[in-house]
């Protein structure tokens, strides 16, 4: 006979008998735990096809597993989803604002407690605080567990997250939306944080467990124990958050950025310098320590020696008659004939001019060498000098007078 009232056993039997159905609907519907009616019908049909024990929408509503929304969709009962999250160790993430609201309730209850003098109300408030702390701890715990398992999945399931941008986005989202706000809620030093409030509750309860009336001392003792326990648990969760989760996510974030950068490098190798400059390492230079500008100068200098012999083009020139000059004996005779000469070099020039128009240095010296003859005496006037222009040289000479020794 069908029970009119729904008992705990009915619910547990339902869960046990239709565990697979419950599990697949749970996983499909999270995190909102709403299923479209056609999908829900299909779940039921598929399940009934494969199982002897059949289920129906009416039975599901009877055990309060779900209810139909005005839209036609089915919403899973929150008591089931809470329990199933625990059963499947698969928690949904609440936004930190939800958590914040919860701990703000504790603030308010604590303020009320301090102001309350009615014993019954004090008892009720303390029970309430203990209960909210428990719920809060449970929330924090499941959030942390969920984040840890998701982060591990993000780290390990490379195939699922081959899209680096998606991986990066997820890591950044979790850090910004969950880790940081959770950290703030649990920050030990911050006067608005849950952790700080717990410390105050603990101190208050600690004092009251000695100073309150005997009957109340026990309940304050409970509150004290609850606060101490909560702080220990939070310490552990904080450790997960700050020592494991945050660095892990930071690392995923950083690693994903590196891989993204490398991805762009490999995929766009022809435009390597379009984004981000490659490290400008220098080329290996020789042992010689020198300024690189020297190299250019040195190359320029060396280039001078590294030339090909210029090709020579000879222009045909008209043959000129080679002028023959008399030998030195002739000039000596002329010198002696001239008797005394007051300006020897001038005489040399003149005598040569009589034989050629192009007096060269070589010819000029041939005549001036007469000075070295033993029978010629020369007198030098060192103070006076003059310039003689020859064809291939200009010479500066002193004025010398000469005469024959016999004279």
């Amino acid at each position: 006979m069908k029970n009119i009232r729904l008992s705990g056993k009915n619910i547990l039997n339902f869960l046990q008998n239709h565990y697979d159905f419950v599990k697949s609907v749970f996983h499909h519907s999270k995190p909102e735990f709403i299923v479209a009616s056609d999908v829900f019908d299909k779940f039921i049909a598929d399940y009934n096809e494969q199982n002897e024990a059949h289920i129906s929408v009416s039975k599901l509503i009877q055990v309060k597993f779900c209810r139909q929304l005005p839209t036609g969709d089915y919403k899973i009962n929150i008591h089931y989803t809470n329990f199933l999250q625990f059963v499947f160790d698969d928690f949904t993430l609440d936004l930190p604002d939800t958590l914040k609201n919860r701990y703000q309730t504790i603030f308010q209850l604590f303020i009320d407690l301090k102001a309350e003098s009615n014993e019954l109300k004090i008892n009720a408030l303390i029970q309430n605080i203990i209960s909210v702390i428990e719920k809060f701890l449970y929330d924090i715990h499941r959030q942390t567990q969920r984040l840890l398992s998701d982060t591990e999945a993000l780290k390990a399931n490379v195939e699922e997250y081959t899209n680096l941008t998606k991986r990066l986005e997820k890591a950044v989202f979790w850090i910004d939306e969950y880790i940081e706000p959770l950290n703030r809620i649990l920050e030990k030093e911050h006067p608005q944080s849950f952790y700080y409030e717990l410390t105050r509750i603990q101190a208050y309860a600690s004092e009251k467990r000695y100073t309150a009336k005997h009957a109340q001392q026990r309940i304050y003792e409970k509150l004290y124990a609850s606060a101490v326990n909560a702080r220990n648990e939070l310490d552990q969760n904080l450790q997960y958050l700050t020592r494991e989760l945050k660095p892990l996510l930071d690392r995923i974030k950083q690693d994903s950025i590196i891989l993204t950068g490398f991805y762009h490098l490999v995929e766009d190798i022809d435009n390597i310098n379009k984004y981000g400059a490659l490290p400008n390492l220098i080329k290996k230079s020789r042992d010689n320590v020198m300024f690189k500008g020297f190299q250019d100068n040195a190359n320029y200098f060396i280039d001078q020696f590294d030339y090909k012999t210029a090709e020579a083009y000879y222009q045909e020139t008209e043959d000129t008659m080679h002028e023959t000059l008399p030998d030195s004996l002739y000039f000596k005779e002329q010198l002696i004939k001239s008797n005394q000469i007051t300006d020897f070099y001038e005489w040399c020039f003149k005598i040569l001019s009589e034989h050629t128009d192009n007096i060269k240095l070589h010819d000029f010296f041939k005549v001036t060498n007469l000075l070295l003859e033993e029978d010629i005496i020369a007198e030098y006037n060192l103070n006076e000098r003059k310039t003689v222009e020859l064809q291939d040289a200009i010479v500066e000479i002193p004025i010398i007078s000469v005469y024959e020794v016999s004279k």
Binding site: K155, A156, V158, R251, Q254, D255, I257, I258, L259, T260, G261, F262, Y263, H264, L265, V266, I269, I272, Y275, G276, A277, L278, P279, N280, L281, I282, K283, K284, S285, D287, V289, F291, K292, G293
Partner: protein, 170 residues
Amino acid sequence: MKYPSEHQQIVNRLLKGKFIIYPDPLFNIIEKSEDYPDFFKYSFGYELNVEAEFAYLSSEHTTEKGTRDFALFLAILCRELDYSNENFREKVEFGEFDINETHNLLKQSSKWEILQKTSVEDFEGFIKTWSNRNLLKSDKGRFKFTKAVKIFFNYAVNLAEEKLQADKIQ
């Protein structure tokens, strides 16, 4: 400028394109010296970069293709390590690689055709070249990255961020 007794050693090593890495005593000398950046700038036209754990010379006018090849090698190695579910950064920063195994890993990559066109193709020669420059350390068929590899990670981060900015603007 007061020259330390190791001056010639410092200058020769850096001009060979080598990294000088902590705890090499030469690194401490460079790190403490206020004169070396100007010395390299005015003597050779090079920039002396002193990071937390290593020092090296750079130049805006360099056209060193080897650096590009090394960046590609590291990029593809990290990609393959990531695909093999390895923590690529940990492996690169702290791990040791077998030269032949790494060569095979890269050859199996779909991106090997890119590396084939670079100096990475002669893999042992490539490892030797970069070991000489202290970006790698190799011994008995194995090699490790030195701390200097971080400049290539920084390069990747900058590249990703600049690309992201450019995409946003578009």
